[in-house]
Amino acid sequence: MDSQAIATSPEHTPSVEHAHPPYLRHHFETVEQQREASSFGMWLFLLTEIMFFGGMFAAYLIYRNWYYPAFVAGSHQLSIVLGTINTAVLIGSSFTMAMAVYSAETRNRKALITYLLLTITLGLVFLGIKSDEYHEKWEKHHVPGLNFSVHDFVNVNPAYPDDKPLPLDMAEKTQVYFSLYFAMTGMHALHMIIGISILIILVIKAYGGSYTDGHVSTIENFGLYWHFVDIVWIFLFPLLYLISRHQ
């Protein structure tokens, strides 16, 4: 439903002399202007996303300073293997996404669809591994509010026999660590789910021939979103899994 197109001046009827490409919306003067506007809009949106995650990163910074031993003990409960695999999977998906943008730019529809589907697959693998990790947290009673016990933190962690068990009041604070863990990775996973849903729409439209007709800004902008979600994880992984590993 494009009311812009309907609402042209009376004399103006779309004609051959106005050889506008069909994807040029009527309120823009040129394709260049339209492309610049949409990529600028996307960067601004990513800025709002940075502020959105920024609130949680600020909370992380504060609580890590306050409850350092609890954060160490908490991060010792995460699986570094799964975290590393997931990081690799996500970087791989950023690569396939970049290839999808490249395929759209070179007007290669088959490659575009293949790379989009690969990106979806890698995104789903990431979510699968993440939900396995969540499941493990549930079994180990590390979910604050719903299913939490300090048991693992007031006793010696067999994987890290050098760690001293925490005193009870500090062990309680691991709930803040896990609250942040679930809020941050949960928000990240939600962004992945939204991304995958959009990818599915993009694949369907790409089948219909969109994006390989020279109008690549949708794919480019989605690429920016996908890389952004990837970068959030690139920060989450060291903060939650790595930096407390060796004291």
Partner: protein, 556 residues
């Protein structure tokens, strides 16, 4: 560039006719409105919805004032009173003041003022309106289902632990409405950067655009922080994570830091677009270029930047460190500087201008006076020692109502009157609207001035009952609120009346210089028949007077 005023004769309106074709009649039917991409139609949709929400919030205000007529809590139970003032705050802040000028007047005018056909993203603009509706629906649902009694601030741990009201529903409503505001801001920024007509350089932009640009920065950077703090509150209520929960090691104060990180800048999201309106109105009715154009433009940006570094002044009594309070107290004083720059420059614009007193100008004078009082009392509250005595009393209630209602609502009404001829093609009735402006001003002073005294004497806010010695001032305040209510009801009535019976306005009834006044009223859907080329500065009345012929673009 002359700074002297130019005598401008207003055009005769008897000869004016309504254009045959405009954005209002280019398409018909509900669907053509609900699925429109036209920024002007979306502005009208917003205008209708925020007016509705304003009267919802206003009804709550009426109930509050009625309850406070007597010292006992006799009209409603105390917990009902809590719900009523919470809903008043939530509706007025998030569903009226934040979108008031930007989503209506801004939406309508920004593309036209910069010579564009539409905002950069018409579909996102429409999406913003639907998000606003969804947010409003959740908020009203929270009210109908039994209310929420956290106050508009959702303070933890009250909101997370101690209340069994509909905090989650209301929180979701604000979360969704927040995204409406983010998308509006994003749309404005991209539009102002990328859609300006040839020759429309940054320093030829009307100051209305500058102030919206600054407010948009705040919307885009601040609102996501509100969103995440509400998400964390909701997660804490529903599944019990512990980021703000002291029993799990969380800090309730962190919520306030996040909340006020948005909600102080939100004050500027609300007031900056209003300041943009005032710049246009004062220049037009003094027939002078705004004095110190560059200073006024940059003061908007300065307010936006400083606005992000003062949030802790809302928390001086909440147990923050004395040293940080000292720093924030100083920074708060700093925000007064760009605000004062604006006030002084507007006054200098008036000086030796050929001032006329049309209704928008009356509202603008109301704005100047009331916002100055509101701003000065803000400096009292920003200084730590005073704040400890005055915060959480009616002094602070009076202070922010002077800024928000005395300032912003006056600016909003000024803008609505000023651009009404452009939006509808018809004039509002001048005499009765002057009466309304006067009623609003008197009603306002009567309502909120006594509250300064009440607060100074120590009457706390947010209580349904108070000691009997405060009754006289409270009765005065309630009487004022009644007058104020009439002052707001009047414009709604005569504006609706003028849609059919108002005098036909013509393209430029005020002889103003903005691009929006050089096209027909109401404008065409595509605003300009051909892209305008701008070769003069904003507020150039000589250019306007020297234009031998006012070639007005009209079709048909």
């Amino acid at each position: 560039m002359s700074t002297a005023s130019t005598i401008v004769k207003l055009p005769p309106q008897e000869g004016a006719t309504l254009p045959k074709k405009s954005y209002l009649n280019s398409e018909y039917g509900l669907k053509s409105w609900l699925l429109t991409g036209d920024h002007k139609r979306i502005a009208i949709l917003y205008l209708i919805s925020i007016t509705f929400m304003f009267f919802v919030g206003g009804a709550m205000a009426g109930l509050i004032r009625l309850e406070l007529l007597t010292p006992q809590s006799d009209l409603m139970a105390t917990d009902t009173y809590n719900k009523v003032f919470s809903m008043h705050g939530i509706v007025m802040v998030f569903l009226f003041l934040v979108p008031s000028v930007p989503a209506t007047i801004g939406n309508f005018l920004i593309p036209i003022m910069i010579g564009a056909k539409d905002l950069a993203f018409p579909k996102i603009n429409l999406l913003s309106w639907y998000l606003y509706l969804a947010g409003a629906a959740f908020t009203i649902a929270a009210m109908v289902l039994g209310g929420v009694d956290t106050g508009w601030t959702f303070t933890t741990p009250l909101s997370t632990h101690y209340l069994n009201t509909h905090v989650v529903t209301a929180g979701l409503g604000i979360f969704i409405a927040g995204f409406s505001s983010i998308f509006t801001g994003l749309n404005f920024i991209v539009t102002i950067h990328r859609m300006r007509a040839p020759g429309m350089t940054w320093f030829r932009l009307p100051l209305f655009i500058w102030s919206h640009y600054a407010a948009s920065i705040l919307m885009v950077l601040g609102t996501p922080v509100l969103a995440i703090s509400l998400v964390l509150v909701i997660l804490e209520r529903t599944i019990g994570i512990g980021i703000f929960d002291p029993t799990k090691g969380g800090d309730p104060l962190l919520f306030q830091h996040l909340f006020w990180f948005y909600s102080h800048p939100a004050v500027y999201i609300m007031i900056l677009p209003g300041m943009g309106v005032i710049s246009e109105v004062i220049s037009t009715f003094s027939r002078k270029r705004v004095f110190g154009y560059t200073a006024v433009a940059f003061s908007s940006v300065a307010i936006a930047v400083f606005g992000f570094f003062v949030w802790e002044h809302h928390m001086f009594i909440m147990g923050v460190s004395n040293y940080s309070a000292l720093v924030f107290s100083l920074l708060t004083m700093l925000v007064a500087v760009p605000t004062a720059i604006k006030i002084f420059n507007w006054s200098a614009t008036l000086y030796k201008g050929s001032i006329t007193f049309e209704t928008p100008m009356l509202y603008a004078f109301g704005f100047l006076g009331l916002v100055t009082i509101g701003g000065m009392t803000g400096v009292f509250l920003g200084s730590m020692g005073m704040d400890i005595h005055l915060t959480e009393t009616y002094f602070i209630v009076a202070h922010f109502h002077f800024v928000m209602v005395g300032g912003m609502l006056m600016a909003y009404l000024s803008g609505i009157h000023f651009w009404w001829p452009k939006m509808t093609g018809r004039m509002y009735p001048e005499q009765v609207s002057k009466l309304a402006a006067l009623t609003t001003f008197i009603g306002f002073i009567l309502t909120f001035f006594p509250q300064f005294i009440l607060g100074y004497l120590g009457m706390p806010r947010r209580y349904a009952a108070y000691p009997p010695e405060f009754q006289v001032l409270n009765v005065l305040s309630t009487a004022g609120a009644t007058v104020l209510g009439i002052g707001y009801l009047l414009p709604m009535l005569y504006m609706t009346w003028s849609l059919k019976y108002g005098k036909i306005a013509g393209a430029n009834p005020w002889q103003a210089t903005g691009l929006e006044w050089q096209i027909q009223s109401p404008p065409l859907t595509e605003n300009f028949l051909e892209t305008p080329i701008v070769d003069h500065e904003a507020y150039d009345y000589e250019w306007l007077a020297n234009k031998t012929q006012h070639e007005v673009q009209t079709v048909g």
